[in-house]
Every structure is written in C-alpha cells, then in structure tokens.
C-alpha cells in the first residue's frame, strides 16, 4: 500500500484529501486511515483546516498536526531509559495540480517503555533478549549441535524447519512460521509411544492379552510420560531453549530466568519430534522418543516414593 503513487488513482481519495468536508469525527477518522498511506501531511492539513473551519472540535488535532512529532520527541526524551530511533525520514517530489510539492515526513519510533500514542519500533518484536530473528547460523546453532550429537546426525533437519521449531506462535504476532502444527503432530506421536511403551513391558499378568498388559494405562506414572512437564524438562535439560523466539511476558523484556511456562516450552520438544517424524518417518521418531524422552529425564521427574505418586 505504501508504494502507491501520488496523486492516488482513486479520485475519491484525492478529492477527499484536497476538498472533502467531513461531517463527523468518525468520517474523518476513516479518511485519515485511508489517507495515511499517502505521503504529504501538508495536503492532509488542508483537509483538517477545512474541517475545523466548519466549527468542529479539535479532537483530531494531534493526529493531523505535523508538529506533534517534535513535541512527542521531547516528551519521550524526558522518559528515562527510552531510546528513540529516527527512521524513514524521506523526501518526495510530488505533483499536485501541476505544482511541484516537496513533502517531508519524519517518523519517530519509540523503543523501550511504552509511550501512549507513539509508534513502536517494528524491530522490537523481532528481537528476543537481544537475539534478532532470522535464518542465521547463530540462531540455529544450539539445535543443530544437539541433533548432530544424537546418533551421528541421523535426525538432521533442514534449516528452515529448525527455525520453525524454535519459533512459538506468540512470537511477532504469529507472522513468522511457527511450530504449532508440528508440535500438535509430535504430541500425538508421543502419546501413542507412551502407551505402546507401557503395554509392551514384560509381564506375567494373567489378564494380559498376548503378553501385553494394559493395566498400567491411565496410571499416574504412565500419564507422566506424555505431559507438558516432561517435554519442558527435556527441552531445558538439553538447552534447546538457548535461542527460542516467543513473546516475552513483559513488554520491557525483563523476564525471570526461571520463568519457563510448560505450555510454551513443551512445544520445543513436541515440535522437534513432529519434525523428525515428518522428515525421517514414524519409526525414526519413535526411536528418538523412546531413547531420549523416556530415558534419564523421565526418571528425574518421577516422584521419589510410591506414596507420593499415588496421592498426586
């Protein structure tokens, strides 16, 4: 939209910006949004003056007045810890009714603490704890070295998929490829593997069918094998979250080191499993689950005594 030329092809918009008289604040607002894609504020100011002369209130002055940017800049400098980024100061040659008009527009982005009415720096949402989102070697390194260490790189995955695994749905308003569907698929497979693992243990139960004892299914310990908690602990233990793109809990970016909600962290492991299944097949993924998830990490999170597991 921003790349549209001036004057606009839409004669309606052009007329509105130069001559239209707005009957209500709502109408002006509507046109403001439509018109903000077009550069010259001076044109818009004309409209505004036109509108104000009709005896309307000055409700929208702040929006339309070009000077408010400078006022805001001062205001934001007075806030401690705020960083300002001046961007997109562009000049443009325009032709309005045959006359050359040069429009200047400065956009100020607010960084750090929130300022009401100020535009936030779009760079902000792409950075988590100082790490910029992108398909770079540095971002993928933790996950890559982890996969290479398992079975001489049997489970290696394409780079794009690796980045998708470490991106949660909450990151950058969900505009980047994220891991929700992979983790949904991975979870289903983990659930099935947990059930299969439990029934195929050796047994002498007389009610077992073909030496498969179904009686442990639904017990506390068996349920633990498919919980978010196990998946989260696995991700933390293997440092899969070293680079993890998600929305920070606080806009300031300050976050407690121990704040690792299992609903979000579990998607790392689950989507890794899902990705392995989608690239190397079910059998490989099942091997991975049985060897990795149901190994040491599972034993660590088990309650110490039998009584504890029964009461829980």
């Amino acid at each position: 939209m921003r790349s549209r030329p001036w004057p606009p092809h839409d004669p309606e918009v052009f007329n509105a910006l130069s001559t239209k008289i707005f009957r209500s604040a709502l109408e002006l607002d509507k046109w403001w949004w439509k018109a903000q894609y077009y550069e010259p504020l001076s044109e818009l100011k004309k409209v505004y003056i036109n509108w104000e002369n009709q005896g309307n209130s000055t409700l929208h002055r702040r929006k339309l007045d070009g000077t408010h940017h400078t006022r805001m800049t001062k205001a934001m400098h007075s806030i401690s810890g705020s960083l300002l980024r001046l961007g997109a100061r562009n000049q443009r040659q325009l032709c309005v009714n045959g006359a050359q008009v040069t429009a200047k527009r400065g956009v100020v982005f607010a960084k750090g603490p929130r300022v009401r009415g100020a535009i936030r720096d779009p760079e902000d949402i792409f950075t988590v704890k100082g790490i910029r989102y992108g398909l770079t070697e540095e971002n993928l390194k933790p996950l890559k070295t982890f996969l290479q260490s398992k079975l001489q790189g049997k489970y290696e995955l394409p780079d794009k998929l690796l980045l998708q695994i470490i991106t949660h749905k909450s990151f950058a308003h969900g505009t980047q490829p994220y891991n929700a569907r992979l983790s949904y698929f991975g979870r289903e497979l983990i659930q099935l593997s947990a059930a299969k693992y439990a029934i195929t243990r050796s047994t002498n139960n007389e009610y077992a069918i073909n030496n498969l004892n179904f009686d442990s299914l639904g017990s506390y310990t068996q349920g633990l094998m498919k919980t978010d908690r196990l998946l989260k602990e696995y991700a933390v233990a293997n440092n899969l979250d070293a680079v993890f793109f998600r929305r920070l809990a606080l806009p300031s970016g300050r976050e407690d080191e121990n704040y690792k909600p299992k609903a979000i962290w579990s998607t790392l492991t689950a989507s890794l499993v899902g990705a392995i299944a989608s690239q190397h097949g079910k059998k490989a993924a099942e091997e991975f689950i049985e060897k990795e998830l149901f190994g040491d990490v599972f034993k660590q999170i088990l309650p110490a005594t039998k009584a504890a597991s029964e009461s829980a």
């Binding site: 969900g174 569907r181 289903e188 059930a195 139960n205 009610y207 004892n213 299914l217 079910k282 009461s311």
Partner: protein, 370 residues
C-alpha cells in the same frame, strides 16, 4: 491536665489495633469461589486423557515397571471355550474379518465396559490405548493429506473421524453391535442362556428409558457412560485388540479400512466471515499481487434470475471462480473458493510417515495471521 490527652491517645491506638486484628468483615461470604474455567475438549481428546483412580490399581513398588500393574477388580474372565459358544461374538468376529489370532475372549472383553460391582475384565484401558492409536493415525493422515488445514479444523476433522459420535455410528450401524438391554426376567422368560449377554455391549447407563417416551437422566455414578461413549469405547478396545493380536501394521490397515474410509466433509468445516479481506491479507503475506475480481461471463442481467460468473485473480493467476445471482454474491463466492483452494491444498500422492517408502512431508508454515 497534662496527662489527659496522652491517655486518650493511648486508647485510640488500642482500638485501632483491636479492629485490625479481628476481622468481622463478612466479605469472605460475599466473594464466591471462582469456578474452574471450562475447558472445551473434543471427545477424542477426553478419551485420550482418562486417568485411573489409584484405588482401582495395584501399583508395583517401582512405578515404572508397567508390566507389574494390576487391576484390583479383575477376578473373572470369560474363557476362550465359553466365548466360542456365543453366536453374537462369532458373528462379529466374522463380520469384521478379524484374524484367527484375535481371540473371541478378547472380543468379549472389548464389549464389557467398566461397571460397578463387575468382576469381569473390562475394556476401559484397552479403549484408552485404542484411542491414542486412532487419534495418531487420523492426525497423521490429515496432516499429510491437507498440510495447510488450520489446527481448529484439524481437531474438528479428527473428532468427526474418531470422536464418540462417529465411533458410535460405526459400532452400532456398521458393525451391528447390540447393547445388553432388557431385564433379567425377560431374559429368563425367553430362555436365553446367561452366557449370551457377553455377546452384547454392557455398560452402566447414564440415561434409561423408564417407559416409552420417558427417559430418566438422573442415574449417574463414576462408572456410568453415555451410549455414545460406551459404543465408542468398544470400537477403541477392538482396535487395541487388533494391535495385540496382529501388531501395528494390521492395526493401521484396520483403521484405514473401517474408520478413515468414512466420508467426512472437510471443506464444509471452513467458514470465512470476511473472505475478501482474508484473501487480501493472505496474498500480501505471500508477496503476491492483491486480488482483483473480473467478470468472466453473465446472462440475464435485466431478468429476474441473472447469473454471473466471476474470477478472483492475483495478477494473471486465476485463484478461484464463483457464481451467483448477483455480482456481490459471485464475488464473495470466488474469494471463498480461492481461500478453500489454499487451505485444502493436497500434495500429489501423499505418503504418511508410517508408510514404507516414505518421503519427507510438506510442512506448512502455520497460519500467518489470525
């Protein structure tokens, strides 16, 4: 005179303290306990997450020895010889084309739900296993066939394959499983052998038809089930039985044959509130030209029943076509068809991850906007 204000001061302090320590505020009665937030779960998700009471299980000292778990209630079992004598079981075994490895006594177990005061083996935990089996294979199938299906639709589609109601339909109307209704007196009068009740689905009912037209819903205990859940559990248990008898490969075939072969109308699950806007956003995120609607053909513009056919284009690419009795209708339909073509994208010759000659899947990037 000097001391008087001091004394007063002291008294005031003590009153304040008294008030602070003894709260007589009735506020605790006013503030009600917050209710747990209702979590919507599909019936297949509920079936996947059944928890056993620790009182029902005999847990070994080392809780990870899953082979040593025992159900406390299990005391009796219909033997294989007895099961061979039940006509309904033999018929069902033959109808489902089960292999000879699948024992008739397992089928009896699959038709017995967890009930109060029941000492026979039941299908409760078999159903739990069968449920994970069914939901995995369904998800795998859907994710491979429609890689771009939004998660909400994916779950709804899974539920319409393996949820309680559809499995109820499979068990009752396709496989012809009957439930054990009728009183003991009726059975006695019709001279039906006692063993025959094991050939029917047995469960504690949540609702009972007291007489024609009157249904009693108030019967509820821990073990009571709705008809749909009971029937669905029998299907799940039979799936688990196939796994026990013939292994995973055969189970997969069984699921494809009986469950995934059913017709589920996935396109109708997609509903768009503002298809035009959604399509414009989608094209923007995919770096394609914004949508333009062009009239392809029309007839009877002046008549009472005009027909318009329009196409939704991005640049020179035709994304979807729509027809309608007004231009607006046709335009909206063309946007919807373009969106559906995107979300219901199907790779050629999809192979699921559990197949033999499996190739890496197409993985979608996720819904790029909400």
């Amino acid at each position: 005179m000097n001391h008087r204000p001091r004394i007063l001061f002291g008294i005031r302090i003590s009153t304040m303290r008294f008030l602070r320590h003894v709260s007589i505020s009735p506020l605790s009665n006013l503030v009600s306990q917050s209710k747990p937030k209702p979590v919507h779960k599909f019936s297949y998700e509920k079936a996947n997450n059944v928890r056993m009471n620790s009182g029902d299980l005999e847990t070994p000292d080392l809780t990870t020895n899953f082979g040593d778990y025992k159900r406390i209630s299990y005391k009796l079992k219909v033997s294989e010889d007895e099961a061979q004598k039940i006509p309904a079981i033999l018929a069902l075994h033959a109808r489902l084309n089960l292999s000879p490895n699948f024992k008739k006594s397992t089928l009896v177990r699959a038709l017995t739900s967890k009930m109060k005061n029941n000492e026979y083996v039941d299908n409760h935990q078999m159903a739990l296993f069968g449920s994970s089996m069914l939901s995995y294979y369904t998800t795998e199938y859907l994710i491979t066939t429609y890689p771009r299906l939004p998660i909400g639709i994916l779950k709804t589609a899974t539920d319409s394959y393996v949820g309680d109601y559809s499995l109820h339909d499979v068990a009752k109307n396709v496989w012809g499983i009957e439930e054990d209704s009728g009183t003991n007196l009726e059975k006695y009068l019709s001279k039906e052998p006692k063993l025959f009740r094991f050939g029917k689905l047995r469960y504690d009912r949540q609702a009972q038809e007291v007489e024609a037209g009157i249904t009693k819903y108030s019967i509820s205990s821990e073990t009571s089930l709705s008809a749909a859940t009971a029937y669905a559990n029998s299907v799940r248990a039979i799936v688990a039985g196939v796994f026990a008898a013939d292994g995973e490969r055969a189970t997969k075939d069984f699921i494809y044959k009986h469950i995934l072969s059913r017709n589920v109308d996935i396109p109708s699950m997609l509903g768009f509130e503002e298809p035009g806007k959604l399509l414009a956003k989608l094209l923007k995120t995919k770096n394609m030209e914004p949508p333009t609607i062009r009239l392809i053909s029309e007839t009877g513009r002046q008549s009472s029943s005009p027909t318009f056919i329009v196409g939704c284009f991005s640049g020179d690419n035709l994304l979807g076509e729509g027809q309608g009795t007004s231009l607006k209708e046709a335009r909206i339909r063309s946007c919807v068809s373009a969106l559906k073509a995107f979300y219901l994208y199907k790779p050629l010759e999809p192979r699921v991850p559990s197949d033999e000659g499996f190739k890496p899947l197409f993985v979608d990037e996720g819904e790029l906007f909400y």
